[in-house]
Symmetry: C2
Subunit: 524 residues, 2 copies
């Protein structure tokens, strides 16, 4: 079933160079060998994608929605082999992978709804005013269309929801853009299974083969060649800051620069307010560690920073968290490289003169185990060394003690852009909370109360994005219905006869979409 081939449209290719899938919990290779895609494969996949674009872009919304639903069905139809494979390749628990499959399928179905409803087209019509003085107004009609073929980079930490058929691919397809995936080498078998499901949906939908290709590989050169290909018009990426910025640099130095939507780096500040700390500090400490250690802490929205007022209530929170961490079972990380980076990050914090080690988790049996780490420092030290605010990917977090709310506000103001900011407070805290909300909204794409940032709903209102360096484009989200906008551009048609217009703009409104006519919204 898994052949390890390169998928260029409907073609399967092998390569002299191969690489292995590895079970990170055991270090064992899992067959088959996977072909390394090369420069020719990139070129051919992009040429097919460009050829498919005009057809795919102009598909009726109902047809594109049906394609998304066929992908969802095809992924569901893989059944247990997909769960088994993803579990083996990532070391993540089975229940987590099953949940992620549900999320991935639900995401595809959400985008099918979005495509059908058609608000993304933002159809806007300014009818001609032939008698206007001093000059007549022409007939002007605007619609949003796909930008062209999109390169998607699978993420290591969500082998389904942020990978081959994840949010980037689903939203690019929804926008009418063919996709060329660079598969993440940490889960090539999962990649293969999902890629084949998409390919089957392409066939079943009667679409041009170039709508989807998948390039397995391990090298930066492969990803670089994909971003540099002139037929690629946008990039979706979830991963490290270094990786994201490398792709941004390549995209910016093309003869025609293109947008890169890289979701990169966030420490997701949590602010614990005094009344909440007093009333339920110990309980919050335990919940904090549960969020921190979930999935070995390998979440973009992992709570890597807690800010609170120094005092006995914070001591209790910290003691409770320390105790919970010491009991949190170690888990294997996704790859040896991720584990190595985690250990280096933790060692650097542990060796920092201004940082105190509050607790470490159990060492764990076997290889690549994430040994959780909880640190503490004070506001001045945190502000003095930007390195203390950098993400350590995995279950590592730091508690920063502030003397008063002014110091908390100063810390928030000094933060880099974030995916999330969390407020833990009771009603008595609200006078302190209110002025911080606008500050946090400037720093983060999502501001949440009395919860934990891990757990990103796939819905209409979600924002999984934020100012740099949380992402490379703070005007966007990579999760939720709004993600489609990343892959759209507006086109205006002036005085084009009705029969020559794209159907969405014709008077008869064959797609039955809501339209803004002469400035006034008209429901579908």
């Amino acid at each position: 079933m898994i052949t390890g081939a390169i998928l260029i449209g409907s073609e399967e290719r092998t390569s002299a160079n191969t690489f292995d899938a590895v079970n990170p919990a055991t270090g064992a290779a899992i067959g088959p060998p996977f072909a390394e895609a090369g420069a020719n494969d990139v070129t051919d996949a992009c040429a097919l994608a460009a050829a498919a674009f005009p057809v795919f872009r102009d598909l009726a919304p109902a047809d594109r929605a049906a394609f998304l639903e066929r992908i969802a069905d095809a992924i569901a139809a893989i059944g247990d082999p997909l769960i088994d494979r993803a579990t083996a390749e990532t070391g993540l628990p089975r229940a987590r992978i099953e949940g992620e499959r549900g999320r991935t399928i639900g995401q595809l179905r959400l985008f099918a709804q979005v495509v059908r409803e058609g608000a993304w087209m933002d159809v806007t019509i300014d009818p001609a005013l032939p008698d206007r003085a001093p000059l007549p107004r022409p007939d002007l009609r605007r619609v949003h269309v796909g930008v062209g073929p999109v390169a998607v980079f699978g993420a290591s930490n969500f082998p389904l929801a942020f990978s081959v058929a994840g949010g980037d691919t689903a939203s690019a397809f929804a926008a009418g853009c063919p996709v060329v995936v660079k598969g993440h080498p940490a889960h090539p078998g999962t990649t293969d299974l999902v890629a084949r499901a998409i390919r089957q949906a392409v066939v079943d939908s009667g679409l041009p083969e170039g709508v989807f290709s998948c390039l397995p590989g391990t090298t930066n050169d492969l990803g670089g060649a994909l971003v540099a290909d002139p037929r690629i018009k946008a990039v979706g990426f979830t991963g490290s800051r270094g990786g994201g910025l490398a792709l941004v640099r390549i995209a910016n130095s093309r003869p025609e620069p293109i947008p890169v939507y890289a979701e990169m780096s966030s420490i997701n500040p949590v602010i614990l307010f005094p009344a909440a700390a007093a009333a339920r500090g110990a309980e919050l400490g335990r919940a904090y560690v549960a969020s921190l250690t979930q999935g070995a802490g390998q979440f973009c929205t992992n709570p890597g920073l807690v800010i609170a007022l120094a005092g006995s209530d914070l001591d209790a929170f910290e003691a409770s968290a320390a105790s919970a961490l010491r009991e949190a079972a170690a888990q294997p990380m996704l790859t040896p490289g991720i584990h190595r980076n985690f250990e280096q990050g933790v060692d650097a914090l542990a060796g920092h003169p201004a940082v105190r080690v509050v607790a470490r988790g159990p060492v764990g049996d076997g290889i690549n185990q994430a040994q959780g780490a909880l640190f503490a420092t004070d506001a001045d030290a945190f502000a003095a060394d930007p390195a203390l605010g950098h993400e350590v990917f995995g279950s590592s977090s730091i508690v920063v003690r502030a003397a008063d709310m002014d110091a908390v506000a100063a810390l928030v103001t000094g933060l880099e852009g974030q995916l999330t900011a969390t407020l833990l407070f009771d009603e008595a805290d609200e006078p302190l909370v209110a002025p911080l909300i606008p500050l946090l909204a400037e720093k983060a794409g999502r501001v949440l109360a009395n919860g934990w940032p891990t757990g990103v709903e796939v819905s209409h209102a979600m924002v999984h994005g934020g100012p740099f360096p949380a992402t490379s484009d703070g005007r966007s989200t990579s999760v939720g219905a709004l993600a489609i906008e990343r892959f759209l551009r507006p086109v205006c048609y002036q005085n084009i006869p009705d029969r020559l217009l794209p159907p969405a703009l014709r008077d008869a409104n064959p797609y039955a979409v809501a339209r803004r006519v002469d400035g006034v919204m008209q429901p579908a």
Copy 2:
């Protein structure tokens, strides 16, 4: 009335370095001397803008709309002195400047309507589902907010509509972003008058002074320092490709990169189809030259390229255009530098071995006169040398002869990104037109039929943008209601108590905006 000062919020500053306004038609300096803003002025203006941002961002839509309308009123109230000054500084005809004033005022009023209606906030609410299995859904509410202070670079060719209070400033204000303008040195007196009008509106609206500052100056260093200032969060620019790309480079190399919306370079292809050429070639030739020479050709949407099938009908079109050009009066260009670049561009085309000079316009009396230029070449030569497809800013255009419609399609496919693409056709041409429309829509932000690209309506449906290098961000427009989106970002609030939410997201909907609730649009 015009003092030549640097305006930092409510403060007026002078400088030891000054520069003069010059009447390009005569070369005469027009007083007073204008202060050159420097690095300190940039720093102080940006600090004030950052301080003003939280207040201005959170203003009720009705209040921000009233501010925009006060600016419109204040510009209108300047009266004839504004028209006189802009005419003297640009060499543009009085009627053109009067029309541009009307456009500028209308643009501000359009954005006031846009702000009041509130669709730009895209308020989206996914109510909590506490009983959902396996996990409850939190309450999620999303709104779009301003990105922060915006740097706006005035353009030389529209001293009102694309300058101090032009579309970039109007849309940034509409989004809730303070603006720091780098005034264009070609019209510093016009800049001064309009800047004071905005400043008066800031005072009359009771807004923090930092909502607006204006930095006159002549150096690239000034603009570079403005884009590099960490408090600036986005840039609006209209001008040359070199200038725009320089700002993009500075923005990309900041510790926190920011978006630059640079509208830069376009030759605005016009495709003349056979039946139209046969039926009305001579008439179209005259209309072409009228569009080409308007305002000395100093329009971003100037028709710099005509593509048509070789033959006697094209000969007639060309002969008619040549005759019209020889009779089109020369006009002064905006600055000696622009005139020099125009002459160099025309000389290069005239000396190109594969290019034929079809006609030149009259030489003109006085300095800085644009002598119109019409060239011809064939499809192979045009395709062989990319230099033939570069913009020559001014009344220069080239007619490219193609052997058949396949050659036309190949030429279109080879074009860079454009602001506009124009189709001149009769009903009999439609079978040839239909397949070209999608090709052109991939290349240009606006596709128009049987008109001329000069003339950009300020309305809801307009797109004045296009793929690179027409702009640095092909997902946007710098004219029309959609321009506001350039300066917005989404923020999601999760489980925040109603009383702590921004008003736009509260259950009571105090701004009475349309909202998407649980995926369904609810009218205002």
